[in-house]
């Protein structure tokens, strides 16, 4: 009897992994427009017409898990399919793993910065481009209302939409290539190699002098090596060193100076996006940009790689929400 039990137990141990059913942890989707979130973590328990969730406007950007951003100008159904939520019109599959949906009037992508840099360089204009890491439109809006960031407020052009996943590697890659993750190959933080040429390659091909001023980490493998910076004055911030470096390049006849400021994102994560420390730091960045503008006789362009949402008393990003996806876009033609 004991032997039988032992045998049965052994067989069960061997067969158990093969018998277990796969379990899905399904996440809902977020629906937002350019004013805020409409629905969060929505799971369509039965096929649901998207316009029943968003109202009359039938212009959408479907943000898919693989980084695709699919523009649609007609209604479609949202349905559960296994672990994913799919978008379908009749039997036609539009998106196979929807993360979120932007609803409403067309909005520029952050990749517009690439097009603008490229166009201005072609016109032989000098370009100072600034990546404000983790700066959401909501943060900008709050500070503009309070009159705390006069320079950025004066050069604000429009809202822009980030890419999925809204994290630095993919946002940065889209900004310097103009391409979406599905084309440039940078989907999230695990990707460093870019599959298409960036603005730095364009600049080199135009015989332009370009520099990329980075923090203490090289984020992406670009055609020019970034100049890395360390915290020399031990104030636990590298942006001031990057700023000093940018000033030192002002009289070096550069055609493209690309600056990546990290401090807004750092403080957003640590204190929260609307914390006093974070908002005060954005004011500091505004004053840096004002000072650089005083010294620069070319175009100034700026945007963010992604925004930031409040989470557990701090900040985070990486979801397809309004706070993470909608960022400000700035342009000043001197």
């Amino acid at each position: 009897m004991r032997k039988k039990r032992f045998l049965l137990l052994m067989i069960l141990i061997l067969l158990l992994p093969a018998c277990s059913k796969p379990t899905y942890e399904r996440s809902g989707i977020n629906i937002f427009n350019n004013e805020g979130n409409i629905l969060m973590d929505f799971i369509p328990e039965s096929p649901t017409l998207v316009s029943s969730l968003t109202g009359d406007d039938k212009r959408f950007i479907i943000i898919n898990n693989d980084g695709k951003m699919i523009k649609e100008e007609d209604d479609f159904d949202l349905k559960i399919d296994g672990a994913a939520i799919v978008a379908k019109r009749g039997n036609a599959l539009i998106a196979e793993d929807v993360i979120s949906i932007y609803s409403g009037e067309d909005v520029s992508r952050i990749g517009k910065l690439y097009q603008d840099m490229n166009n201005f360089l072609k016109e032989d204009k000098k370009v100072l481009a600034v990546l404000l890491d983790g700066f959401s439109y909501e943060q900008f809006s709050k500070l503009r209302e309070d009159g705390r960031i006069p320079f950025l407020s004066s050069i604000f052009k429009e809202k822009a939409i980030s890419v999925y996943m809204p994290v630095t590697n993919s946002g940065f890659a889209s900004i310097i290539t103009g391409a979406l993750p599905e084309d440039n190959g940078v989907y999230n933080r695990n990707f460093r190699d870019i599959k298409v040429k960036s603005i730095f390659k364009d600049a080199l091909e135009m015989n332009k002098k370009a520099v990329l001023l980075e923090g203490d980490i090289k984020i992406l493998n670009t055609e020019i090596e970034p100049m890395l910076h360390v915290d020399l004055n031990k104030d636990e911030d590298v942006d001031d060193e990057i700023y000093e470096s940018a000033i030192s390049y002002m009289d070096k006849d550069m055609d493209l100076i690309f600056i990546h400021f990290h401090g807004i994102d750092d403080r957003g994560h640590f204190y929260g996006p609307y914390a006093h420390e974070t908002l005060a730091y954005i004011e500091k960045i505004d004053s840096y940009l004002q000072n650089l503008d005083d010294l620069w006789d070319g175009v100034i362009l700026a945007t963010a790689d992604h925004g930031m949402n409040e989470k557990d008393g701090a900040g985070d990003h990486g979801d397809g929400t309004y706070e993470d996806m909608i960022v400000p876009y700035f342009l000043k033609e001197n």
Partner: protein, 173 residues
Amino acid sequence: MSKNNKAALIIISLLAVAFIVALSLGRDTTNKRMDLLAEAKIELVTSEESIEVDLSDIEEVDAENFIGIFDSSTTDKSEHEYIGIEIRDLLGYKSIDLEDKKAVIVHGADGFSVAYSMDEILNENNIYLVYMEDGTYLGGRESGGRGPYETIILSDTFSNRRCKWVVKIEVVE
């Protein structure tokens, strides 16, 4: 021998074979990782010179066992035991002058690079060049490893300034 006994014997034999195969594969992996470490070279670069160092140089510097926390945006915090040498000790062993230098930039085989300030480098027990984690050699890029060498900075809360697959250590003026 009864049918039940036979079946039990077959199952136990199969498990024993699987165990021996796994053990032998593990030993094979360890040997490959040791070979990779023995063959690996790192370039030490200053404005004046470029020196190549290998395991024989690393072994001349006192290796330390220490505990480090790994924490990334996609993983939970986990504690590991590492063996490696301090980068400042390696540079000192090769008589590289660090006075009035600004930073040390470490480059990985994948094109990644990370800058450490000279204060961070000179701080005792802070920045290490490691080759073992939890008793296992780190392995190479092709086999999904993070070595043969990786840098670890203990004063950082997060692990985003670690550099995998180290191939070059550059002292910047």
